[in-house]
């Protein structure tokens, strides 16, 4: 099981390319006039694209630990691909709305930095790197949340920041405790040297608190609805999609490599609470962004299921990786529809099918995808997740997840039905570029679902 160790910068090529693109984009943005800031956006996107290509080539590489802290294994590969792919879609989604904005370059650069931090979060196998990654993933996102400089945006940014700062502090405390108890910060050392006892449990809970914040899971979920509603829609798309990927990868890595003891039950309880709470809160929402926000919370609950059974069954890893990628794509697709329509009330979607049948179809496929209807990608993820739960002897959790899935049908349908209804007013006009992103994401969820065999055989 011991991976190879080496210190070769080429192993970090995807990250370096992305970083290079972002820095170059920032510099470009400083020197070109405002009406040509799109060049900087393209440079950022090119960096992400180059990183994505490099990440795709790295998939076939051996299991390697680089710089004593950065793991190259399937978890990292999927994190890289999903994060960079989602970021590229977010950049595409933000391109048109941000055109001509006073801080156009900043949006794109901050988005890429969030993505970089997220990848580091998923790949870290050392607690100190984990903390650094947490900060790198969080701080640009705080700034983005308040990007609109309006009342709601400021409120959401402040809430996001305060909560992140508090839980980040918890996380640091937890790291300190575990460092003291396990005499090291690398996962390998901790796995061997960590005694079992109440102090360790406290340390683990504090550490996990920060990651649950990034994942948007109960009890650290309070920021999700406010940021999703208050921040600009593109930013909402970013913060409910990208950071979660890294957070779940990090949680899974901790569960699989470091903590074998009381971990499973704790996470299972958090998972059950998260999915149930998210679903119940989504019922009454009239604002689609809030509805999606609570839906992402419930999805976080499902994603915690494979984390809970990490190391107990072989299905846990493919379940998590597949679900996380499927979730990212589907959630992005749903948010892209919101961006394309540009309205937030459920009633505003009345008559969407007549205005743009393809966009309405994308909405239906994405929402049914979030429910887990075949043949979308989340369906395969859900099957694997339920299988992992049952095989990991957490059948009750599988049942809770199934019941929650049925309950979630209700609020997703509440949104689908008006889209096919008759419009009372003029149906909303649709932004073409955002609609294209929605089509792309939707098509990808279907491709990933039907071609799941190919995707799964890669890792």
């Amino acid at each position: 099981m011991n991976p190879m160790m080496r210190e070769n910068p080429a192993d970090l090529l995807p990250e370096l390319l992305t970083l290079f693109g972002a820095v170059l984009g920032l510099l470009t943005g400083m020197f070109v006039p405002r009406r040509r800031q799109w060049i900087a956006a393209l440079v950022c996107a090119a960096g992400v694209l180059a990183g994505l290509v490099a990440a795709a080539f790295a998939v076939s590489g051996p299991r390697v630990m680089t710089f004593d802290a950065f793991m190259l294994d399937p978890v990292t590969h999927v994190t890289r691909l999903t994060v960079l792919g989602s970021t590229l879609l977010v950049l595409a989604l933000g391109f048109a709305p941000m055109r001509g904005h006073r801080r156009e370059t900043e949006f794109h650069v901050l988005t890429v930095f969030t993505a970089l931090g997220t990848i580091a979060l998923g790949a870290a196998s050392d607690l100190l790197v984990l903390v650094a990654a947490y900060l790198l993933a969080s701080i640009p996102a705080y700034a983005l949340a308040g990007f609109g400089k309006d009342g709601k945006g400021a409120e959401s940014a402040l809430k996001y920041y305060l909560m992140g700062a508090l839980l980040g502090l918890f996380m640091l405390t937890g790291v300190t405790l575990l460092y003291g108890l396990g005499r090291g910060t690398s996962y390998e050392t901790l796995a061997l040297g960590l005694p079992s006892g109440p102090a360790v449990t406290v340390g683990v809970i504090l550490l996990v608190a920060g990651l649950l914040f990034k994942a948007g899971a109960v009890p650290a979920h309070f920021w999700v609805p406010d940021v999703t509603e208050g921040a600009p829609p593109v930013v909402a798309t970013l913060v409910t999609t990208v950071p979660k990927i890294g957070a779940f990868a990090a949680l899974f890595r901790l569960g699989a490599e470091v903590m074998p003891h009381s971990w499973a039950l704790t996470i299972a309880l958090i998972a059950a609470a998260t999915m149930t709470l998210g679903n119940l809160a989504a019922f009454g929402q009239d604002n689609v962004r809030r509805l999606l926000a609570y839906s992402t919370i419930s999805q976080a609950g499902y994603l915690l299921v494979p984390v809970a059974v990490a190391g107990r069954t072989d299905l846990a890893e493919p379940a998590l990786l597949y679900y996380v990628a499927a979730y990212a794509l589907t959630n992005l697709g749903a948010f892209a529809v919101v961006v394309a329509v540009g309205r937030d009330r459920i009633g505003d979607y009345r008559g969407l099918a007549r205005r743009s049948p393809l966009l309405a179809l994308s909405l239906v496929i994405c929402l049914l995808g979030l429910i887990g209807t075949p043949p979308t990608a989340v369906f395969v993820g859900k099957v694997l997740m339920l299988g992992a739960a049952v095989e990991g002897h957490y059948t009750w959790l599988a049942v809770v997840a199934a019941v929650n899935t049925v309950a979630s049908v209700f609020y997703y349908l509440r949104w689908i039905v008006p889209a096919y209804g008759r419009a009372e007013h003029e149906p909303p006009t649709v932004s073409r570029p955002a609609a294209l992103v929605a089509y792309t994401a939707t098509a990808l969820t279907l491709v990933l679902g039907i071609g799941s065999g190919i995707a799964l055989s890669l890792n």
Partner: protein, 497 residues
């Protein structure tokens, strides 16, 4: 591309063509008719060239190899009749929908999609593939009810979705149980049938069976999971009701025979009496509630609960100890009943639609003396009703006779009592159908009778073939039974392991 894949995906391709070629409403329905007719022709050819027993026209491609789920298709004597029924019913609904005025293109596309899903389900030989089609059928039917229904359609559609989706997820848990219990782990139905999973842990096998039975029972539906059915049927458009009753309900009973019985034989035998009781209760309860209805469509919906009850009773009795030949007969009867119910209830729902289109009411008390103003309609309704109550000469009799003979002849006291009570169901059904005919067709004209006109050409062309086939099966059932009987023996042998 194999011939079965062609059968399955031809309707879907037609649905896409509707949009790609931007066909108008009328052209769309005609495309639907042509596609369904072509599909029916292929299925009939497959039937004619099928040399059973065993699986014919098999395809097995890799799909998700890491969990050993494959794109595995094939047909045998159990799935062929249901495939034929599906294609025929969809064709008849297409012809019937020639009168569909509102958003006919989307309507046709949804039905074509639903046809693909239904055919795929009956041809699937992989649990995951089966589940994919099982789940999609719910989505498609939801949109049919919500988009083209009447009355409180959104509420009924939602209830339909929630109930059956719950069932499908429980079913999925059961399938995962089967997968994890098998060694080597697989979703392949043929392998799972060959080496039944969980053979040495009866407790777990019981739980997995519970999940699968509950999942299928919601879809079938049996008492106490039937409450979604009456509103869904009442508020669905006529073609939707016909497909829902004729094809979608069969997915549940088909699952019993295809999955539950052969894959968990020991657990099935242990709990067969529970299935028998559920079947008997469904038979009697469905019939009694139907008797109390004023709403014509609701009445027919409840007779579906009754008719499905016979099937559940039969498959339950097949797991009891007792005479093997009799139990074989029960299974054959169950499969025949699936086909027969599809034909007759499909026709009945289309006939309901004929009335509703003219008067927008299902209230039987507002009709009366319809036979005088619409003689052809009256004749068709009478044939369908008599078939449904089990009159000899029509398919319902062949099915129910075999079920009762099989259940009572199995030789155990419990089975005989169950069979005896179930015969009571036939009596009640006879009473309620005769009352139906009396209230709608005979007597003094009601308030709405004047508005009823006789069936048009398209309606006639849609309904007559269904009843004609019911008559053919009633008079000369050999062609069907020859196909089904080898499957019944195989199933009984598999359950007996």
């Amino acid at each position: 591309m194999t011939v079965l894949s062609l059968v399955i995906f031809l309707p879907l391709a037609a649905a896409l063509a509707l949009y790609l070629l931007r066909l108008g409403d009328r052209a769309s329905v005609w495309t639907w008719i042509v596609a369904s007719a072509a599909d029916l022709a292929i299925v009939v050819a497959l039937w004619a060239r099928y040399d059973g027993p065993g699986i014919g026209y098999e395809t097995n491609a890799r799909w998700i190899p890491s969990v050993r789920a494959g794109y595995h298709l094939g047909v045998d004597g159990l799935s062929l009749p249901l495939l034929a029924l599906t294609t025929l019913l969809f064709l008849c609904c297409a012809v019937y929908s020639l009168r569909q005025a509102r958003r006919a293109r989307t309507f046709a596309a949804l039905f074509l999609f639903l046809e693909t899903v239904s055919l795929g389900l009956f041809a699937a030989l992989d649990l995951l593939l089966f589940f994919v089609f099982f789940d999609l059928s719910i989505v498609a039917m939801y949109f049919v009810i919500a988009g083209w229904g009447h009355g409180d359609r959104l509420r009924s559609a939602l209830r339909f979705f929630l109930y059956t989706f719950f069932g499908s997820l429980v079913l999925l848990l059961g399938f995962i149980g089967l997968y994890l219990g098998s060694s080597p782990k697989t979703f392949d139905m043929v392998e799972l049938t060959r080496n039944p999973p969980l053979a040495d842990s009866p407790g777990l096998a019981g739980l997995v069976l519970l999940a699968i039975v509950v999942g299928l029972a919601v879809k079938t539906p049996t008492v106490p999971f039937h409450t979604w059915l009456p509103p869904a049927h009442t508020d669905a458009p006529a073609a939707g009701s016909a497909i829902l009753a004729g094809v979608l309900l069969k997915m549940g009973t088909y699952g019993f025979v295809r999955i539950a019985m052969p894959m968990l034989p020991e657990a099935w035998r242990t709990y067969a009496w529970v299935i028998v009781i559920v079947g008997v209760v469904s038979v009697v309860y469905g019939a009694l509630v139907a008797l109390a209805q004023r709403d014509l469509k609701r009445l027919i919906a409840y007779t579906s609960v009754n008719h499905m009850g016979y099937i559940v009773l039969a498959v339950g009795a097949a797991g009891l100890a007792g005479d093997e030949a009799a139990r074989r007969l029960a299974v054959t009867g169950a499969v025949t009943q699936m086909v027969s119910h599809g034909l007759l209830t499909g026709a009945l729902f289309l006939l309901c639609g004929v009335l509703y289109e003219r008067t927008a009411s299902y209230d039987m008390d507002e009709y009366g003396g319809v036979a005088r103003v619409a003689p052809v309609f009256a004749g068709l309704l009478a044939v369908a009703s008599f078939g449904s109550l089990g009159l000899p000469g029509l398919s319902g009799f062949i099915a129910e006779f075999q079920i009762f003979t099989g259940v009572i002849g199995a030789g155990t006291t419990g089975a005989a009592i169950a069979g005896g009570i179930a015969v009571l169901g036939v009596l009640i059904t006879a009473a309620l159908f005769l009352r139906l005919l009396q209230r709608v067709l005979l007597g003094t004209p009601g308030t709405l009778t004047a508005r009823v006109t006789d069936v048009g050409a398209a309606e006639r062309a849609a309904i007559v073939p269904l009843l004609a086939l019911a008559l053919v099966i009633g008079v000369a059932p050999r062609f069907l039974l020859d196909l089904v009987e080898p499957v019944s023996s195989a199933v009984i042998a598999l359950v007996g392991r």
